[in-house]
Each structure stands twice: as C-alpha cells, then as structure tokens.
Amino acid sequence: MSSCTPAPTRGDSLDLEVVIDRERCIGSQNCVHHLPAMFQIDDEALAVVIPQSEASAAELDIVVRDCPTEAIQVRRSPLKGTS
C-alpha cells in the first residue's frame, strides 16, 4: 500500500491535490528543483509536499513528467466546493 501525502494546492482555475507516492519516490529531488516552494526532502530523504503551497497546473505538469519514477500525481481535490 502507498502512503500518500496529499496537500491542497491552487491550480489555474481548479483546486488540485498533489500526492507523492512514497513507495515510488527515490529522492531524486527533481520536483524540488522545479518547485522549491512546493516540494522538499524530509528526514527519510524522500519528497514531501509543503502544506498550503501553491503552483499552477502548467508548473505541476512539468513536475509530474520530470519525476523519474512517476511518484507524483495531481488530481482534482475532493475538497473542491466543500469549504
């Protein structure tokens, strides 16, 4: 089973949720390189999403494609419209 770190983010016009699959992440830090305000490396040398951080859908698209292990998913937030 994957343990995930969801964090709400704001996309261009959508509320998006960024999820890192820690079972896949190998600590390449490619995501940190692109969006240092959104991703950081934790004590286990794996990527985590910084809570409350924001990025555009276009920026997130690059991060998703550049992850060497496809460990990052961006999906519509299930929280959308509930707050």
């Binding site: 600590g27 830090q29 390189h33 040398a45 794996l46 550049d66 292990t69």
Partner: protein, 409 residues
C-alpha cells in the same frame, strides 16, 4: 575561437585536473564541447544538471568501466544501472541511506579521526592524506556496513587490489594481469569470502545486528531477496564510492594548513564549518565529471546529440558557472549558494552525500581540537601534486609537521 581549442584527453589527469581556464572559456564560448570523437562535455550548470536529472534520455549503463569489461548483472554498481532495476534498489537502500545514517555514524567517525590525529601528533607529523583522509572513508563506510575496524586494514589491501584489476576497473587496468577473474569472486576471492560470511551469518541469524549488511539481507524487492552477489557488490560499491571523500577531507585540510584566513574564520565560528564543506565540494569537487550515454536524439545548448553519444557531466565547470554562483572562481563562504553538483543530481544523486558531508565536517572539527593556529604546517620539502586520476581532484600527499603545543588527547 574554434571548437578544436576545446579538444582534450578526458583520461589524462595532466589535462583534466588543470583546465579551469579552459572550462571558463567553454562556459562562455562552447557550452557543449567535444573533447574527443563521440564525447560531449557540458560546461554549464543548468545543462549539466539536466543531464543528471533526465535519466531516461541520459543512461548510466556502461558508466565508468574500461572498454570491453562486462559485468554480471548481479554485480553492477548503482552508477551503471538504469530503470527499472536502479529505482527499485535505490528505493530499498534509501531506507538506510538518509540523514539518520550519518548521525548514527558520527560518534564513530569523531572517535576514529581523533585517534588518527593523536597518532599523527605523537609522530610529530606525516602524510595526512595517507594517515588520515584516506583511512576515514573506508573505516566509516565499513562501520556502517558492519565491518569491525580491526578487519578494515587487511580488507583494504584486497579492496584496493580489486579496484586495480579489470574488475571492477575503477579507471585503472591491471595491465600485467588483464585476465584476472570474471567477477568479484574470481578477481578477489578472499574479499568475496569475507563478505559472503558476513551475509551468511546474518541470513542464518547467527549474527544479529542492525548494520547495513543485515538491512540488505532482510530487504526484499517485491518479494525477492537480494542475492549474495548483489549484497557483496553493493557493499564494495559503497566502499569504493566513499573513497572520494578522501579528496574532500584532503582538500579541506590543505586549505586549513595553507590559508591562515580560512582557518581563523572557521576557528572563530564553528557554524561556518558546514558552509566550508559545501564550498570545498563546489570549488574543488572530489569528482571532476561523470559519464552518461544518450538513449535518444536530443539537443543541449543547440548542440545535436545522437543516441550512443557519451555525455561528460562537467561537475567542476558547472560548480563555477558565473551565472549561478557569485564570485564563482573564488573560494568564499556563502551559505545561500544554490546546491552545487559535486554529488550529481536527480535519480542517481549520491546516496552517501550525508555521510560525506558529515565526514568532512567532523574532520575539520577534530582538526581544530588538535591544532591551534600555526601548529600544523607543510613539511619544508613538500610539493603539491594531485591524485594521478583523470576524474579525481585532491592532493596525493600532504606531508605535515606538527609544531609544539599541538593537542594529543
């Protein structure tokens, strides 16, 4: 300026270790030079970082072996693996290789360096590279693996002998015995037997420890256990990769001994020691460059790259990129520098980077606990020479004399 000005022999240390001016001109005039047929050298930071980060376009296969050397699949080093094997193994190893590993090894490292420097003081001096900086990485990596310090000295002779054969062909071929062995067990039977015993003792439960070898014995990839050959090879991989830290410690010691300003600054403010370690890694990277192979057509800085072309990731040049680092060609302490590329970047980012940084920092801290200002000086006849290796950067020896007052504790 024609491109031919940037031809050089990548395997000749007399050229690769002495081309700072050439690198500066390459960054300006020829960011992707062709040192020789089929080789493309990236001189700028962003291009070099991109090659490291994009492991799909730039493969590690065939990484650093001498031409024609074939390695059994189970004995590959991490730096010559691609997906899907590499991320699976890296994933598993990251459970061990994290900042906690370096913290856990710090007390041992501190005690060991203290003992080595005490011995140096007692003798009144010596070659601090051979006596200290070359010993620390093997002992510390060995400690993490679970090898007792008493075994390291004997093992290290066999280990260095292995590195100088065709297997694993760590850049130097044993030309007198080119056919020694086909794998680690063939090339270095005693070394292989030592690791195999370690592995079997842990597998059978006879030895219960939390060391890295037992972690590898216990680990599995999707239900499969790592083979004995794999664990043994990774152990040797870690020991040999850790050796580059020798250069880091030697470069720091050389600067401490030869620059009073540098020594005083760090002595007055220990918080600057980690910054100095980063700066040493940036300014004098222990590994000058690495290799990749293009898997598909691409372009780097308008230079077309074809499948099969070899990329030379110019770490040393990238780390002095004037568009990325302030006063890039000076050694200065700047805590807000972007990450330098001494450990690479991306999926193959050096697993042991925390270990190397810790060893460098502790080596400096122990230096100050042993030597007051001016108490350690270069021997009168000393001449600075670099390690005779094309991609390494650090002094081959540092002959020092201990002056009165040094602290042997």
């Amino acid at each position: 300026m024609s491109e031919s000005d940037f031809e050089f022999n990548l395997f000749d240390p007399e050229q690769t270790q002495h081309m700072w001016d050439k690198m500066q001109r390459m960054r300006r005039e020829c960011p992707v030079a062709q040192p020789s047929e089929g080789f493309y050298y990236t001189a700028r930071y962003l291009d070099t970082q991109r090659v490291f980060r994009d492991s799909r376009t730039f493969s590690c296969e065939g990484g650093f072996r001498a031409a024609g050397v074939e390695i059994p699949e189970d004995e590959l080093f991490l730096a010559e693996m691609d997906a899907p094997l590499h991320p699976r193994l890296r994933k598993l190893l990251l459970k061990s290789f994290n900042p906690g590993m370096a913290k856990g090894a710090e007390t041992f490292t501190q005690g060991y360096i203290e003992q080595l420097l005490d011995d140096l003081v007692a003798k009144g001096g010596g070659d601090i590279v051979g006596e200290v900086s070359a010993r620390v990485p093997l002992a510390v990596t060995g400690h993490v693996l679970g090898i007792p310090l008493d075994d390291i000295a004997e093992l290290s002779a066999q280990f260095f002998a292995l590195l100088h054969t065709d297997w694993p062909a760590y850049g130097v071929k044993d030309r007198e015995h080119p056919d020694v062995g086909k794998d680690i067990a063939g090339s270095a039977p005693e070394l292989a037997a030592y690791f195999d015993k370690m592995i079997n003792d842990r597998r059978s439960g006879n030895v219960k420890t939390g060391d890295l070898v037992s972690q590898m014995v216990d680990a599995d990839i999707e239900g499969d256990k790592l083979s004995t050959e794999r664990i043994r090879s990774l152990a040797i991989n870690f020991l040999s990769a850790g050796l580059s830290t020798t250069n880091l410690i030697s470069n720091l010691y050389h600067r401490l001994i030869t620059s009073d300003d540098f020594a005083r600054t760090l002595r007055d403010d220990a918080a600057l020691i980690p910054v100095a370690v980063e700066e040493s890694l940036r300014f004098e990277p222990p590994v000058l460059f690495l290799f990749r192979t293009a898997t598909q057509e691409t372009e780097i800085a308008d230079t077309p790259i074809k499948p099969g072309n070899r990329l030379v990731t110019g770490i040393a040049s990238a780390n002095r990129d004037e568009t990325v680092f302030d006063r890039a060609n000076e050694f200065r302490l700047n805590a807000s520098d972007p990450e330098n590329l001494a450990f690479g970047a991306g999926p193959h980012l050096c697993l042991g980077n925390h270990m190397a940084r810790m060893e460098g920092r502790v080596a400096v801290e122990e230096f100050f606990r042993h030597f007051g200002p001016g108490e350690l000086r270069l021997a009168p006849e000393y001449e600075y020479h670099l390690m005779p290796h094309f991609l390494e950067y650090g002094p081959e020896r540092l002959d020092v004399v201990v002056h009165a007052g040094a602290n042997s504790r």
